[in-house]
């Protein structure tokens, strides 16, 4: 991140190319709010039940909980959530490791 002029120009160019890439990519995405976009399919291209559709249909039967997000969070994808908790814990530990000082230094 040495901000010499050449590098700055190079950075702007790469940012520009990223912008173009994203705009082109975004153009091919399914239209917003389309109910039959691949992400919402009941049967997906592989012939399996689509995850999103399955969650809507069976969350209540599987966990007796109306809030689907909670069920996905706490049950279907609880490993992600575990990771999330570990991330918070990791952040706490990181701040501890970075900032906490010895008692005698602080006196």
């Amino acid at each position: 991140m040495d901000m010499s002029k050449g590098k700055k120009i190079l950075g702007f160019l790469s940012l520009l190319s990223l912008t173009i890439l994203l705009l082109v990519a975004v153009d091919s995405l399914p239209k917003r709010g389309l109910p039959d976009a691949p992400a919402h399919q009941v049967i997906n291209a592989a012939g399996n039940t689509g995850a999103g559709a399955y969650f809507i249909q069976s969350a209540y039967e599987d966990a007796a909980t109306p809030n689907m997000v909670t069920v996905v969070l706490g049950d279907y994808r609880s490993f992600d959530t575990l990771g999330e908790v570990v991330v918070v814990f990791a952040a706490a530990i990181a701040c501890y490791l970075i900032l906490r000082r010895r008692e005698d230094e602080e006196k």
Partner: protein, 156 residues
């Protein structure tokens, strides 16, 4: 933070407000099954309550609310509740985090899952609350001024 307010009114208000925030936080955790919310949001609200007191009264004065020294171990405890639950399930023969595999007498599998999620949410709430408070405490700790309680000891 470094200049805690001395005003009694602010203290009173913040204490009261913090209480309400925390009650709401607990509600959010418990009620996460039915409405938006859950462990993380609730935990963050609980943390917000404590941070409010921290900000109005200063870090040292508000230690009794949640001592820095036990915040990190408590965060770890929250995570252990979560991860430990999964490990416990292993002993019942289920896959990791398969709450339904735990045979609880008189409960349907979905209900067992319901309570499994609840336990998890509580674990998340605890971990998030203490984790955020711990981060905040580490941040506002000044380098040279100090109190006597700086991070002494864990839960040994």
């Amino acid at each position: 933070m470094t200049n805690p307010s001395q005003s009694l009114i602010i203290k009173m208000v913040s204490r009261t407000l913090a209480t309400f925030i925390q009650v709401f936080g607990i509600y959010v955790i418990i009620h996460g099954h039915y409405s938006p919310g859950g462990g993380f949001q609730g935990g963050a609200l609980l943390a917000a309550g404590i941070l409010l007191i921290r900000m109005t009264e200063g870090r040292e004065e508000s230690q009794p609310t949640l001592a820095t020294a036990i915040a990190t171990p408590l965060a770890s405890l929250g995570a252990v509740i979560f991860a430990g639950l999964g490990v416990v399930i292993l002993f019942f023969g289920g896959n990791y985090m398969d709450y339904g595999a735990v045979p609880v007498p008189g409960m349907e599998v979905p209900v067992v899952r319901y309570y499994g999620i609840l336990i998890v949410e509580v674990g998340i709430g605890l971990a998030v609350m203490t984790g955020l408070v711990s981060i905040f405490d580490d941040m506002v700790r000044t380098n040279r001024q100090s109190g006597p309680d700086m991070g002494r000891g864990g839960m040994s």
